[in-house]
Symmetry: C2
Subunit: 199 residues, 2 copies
């Protein structure tokens, strides 16, 4: 007594996603069978295939992109003297929504988390150090989340740069501790940017 | 300022699922980009393609299946005199887990819900009436959920059969009202089966 093999396979595949347990994956799979027509399934399949084909990390900043370099790095009108360091590409999207910042970004694609076995070498810090050799960069704004991982990562990077001439700042409080940047509203993020302090 | 097109496409595709809003779809899409390798994405794609290719509704009972007829309908050892009517194939899975029932099933693939514009003709009731012309069937057990839709559907079917010689019963209380059969434990479902009453 079980589901047809194809349904079990889809359930197992969808369980890969964070917060998706057996019951949820089962509901998604049965919804696919009962409510999605072939056209809708093709849309999903094409979307996944395009992710595989088109998407990569920007070799300069680590942002997820389908152009080399990404639309931020190739934008000549941006202020090349400042880099905001963020954990995920989605944080960049929220930052840009504020229209308060016109510099560059560096996406770590993660944060230091010893408990998850994620060390400094597992996130995009080396790429940041390479960029900082360029003397046009005057300030690094650390905008990792106000979580243990984000704070640890900010402290680690600021220590790496303590002997350099680059101004290292931390995004201001204003974003509630434990909260993620992606959920913060634009005013809160604007205030956090304005209130940044030297570490 | 936006995500690459391929990511927007995946976000839109995943939003088709019940309970998946913009933020959740975004999280799934970025997880796909940041954490799933090509192999993992291929598994998901293959699973969707197999759903399209292998899965269909059993022409006899409406169960989702990859064999014609489904493994229940083709099992000669099952008691052909009783049919349990359920809303979804997942309810059949839970019923079978009890090992208390060895008859047949009829999967409506939905329930009557005027507010959602779902009428009797939109679910698999016509197929049930065709099956009931076979005189070997002595009892129909209505095991739709104890929700408004499930109750309406049960009442509708029992009215259709009130002049027939077939015994029409309703699964017993025991499953909490408003709850769905898929979440009930096996003992509760066994009790509900034992306590069924004539309508």
């Amino acid at each position: 007594m079980r589901y047809p093999d194809a349904i079990d396979k889809l359930i197992e595949a969808l369980r890969k996603y964070p917060g998706v347990g057996r019951k949820t994956a089962e509901r998604f799979a049965l919804y696919t069978v009962n409510r999605l027509n072939d056209e809708a399934i093709d849309e999903i399949v094409d979307a996944y295939l395009r992710i595989k084909e088109d998407i990569f990390k920007c070799p300069i900043c680590g942002n997820i992109t389908d152009t080399d370099p990404c639309y931020i790095c190739k934008d000549q009108s941006r202020d090349k003297s400042t880099i905001i360091v963020i954990e995920e590409a989605k944080d960049l999207i929220v930052m840009e929504k504020t229209n308060k910042y016109h510099g560059l970004y560096h996406v770590l694609n993660g944060a230091i988390s010893p408990s998850d076995g994620i060390g400094p070498e597992d996130i995009n810090i080396k790429g940041l150090l390479v960029r900082l050799k360029d003397e046009t960069i005057k300030e690094v704004i650390l905008a990792t989340n106000l979580s243990n991982e984000g704070e640890t990562t900010a402290q680690y990077i600021s220590r790496l740069l303590q002997d350099s001439t680059i101004l290292v700042t931390r995004i201001a409080h204003g974003i509630p501790a434990g909260g993620n940047i992606e959920y913060a509203d634009e005013i809160t993020i604007s205030k956090a940017l304005e209130g940044r302090r030297k570490l």
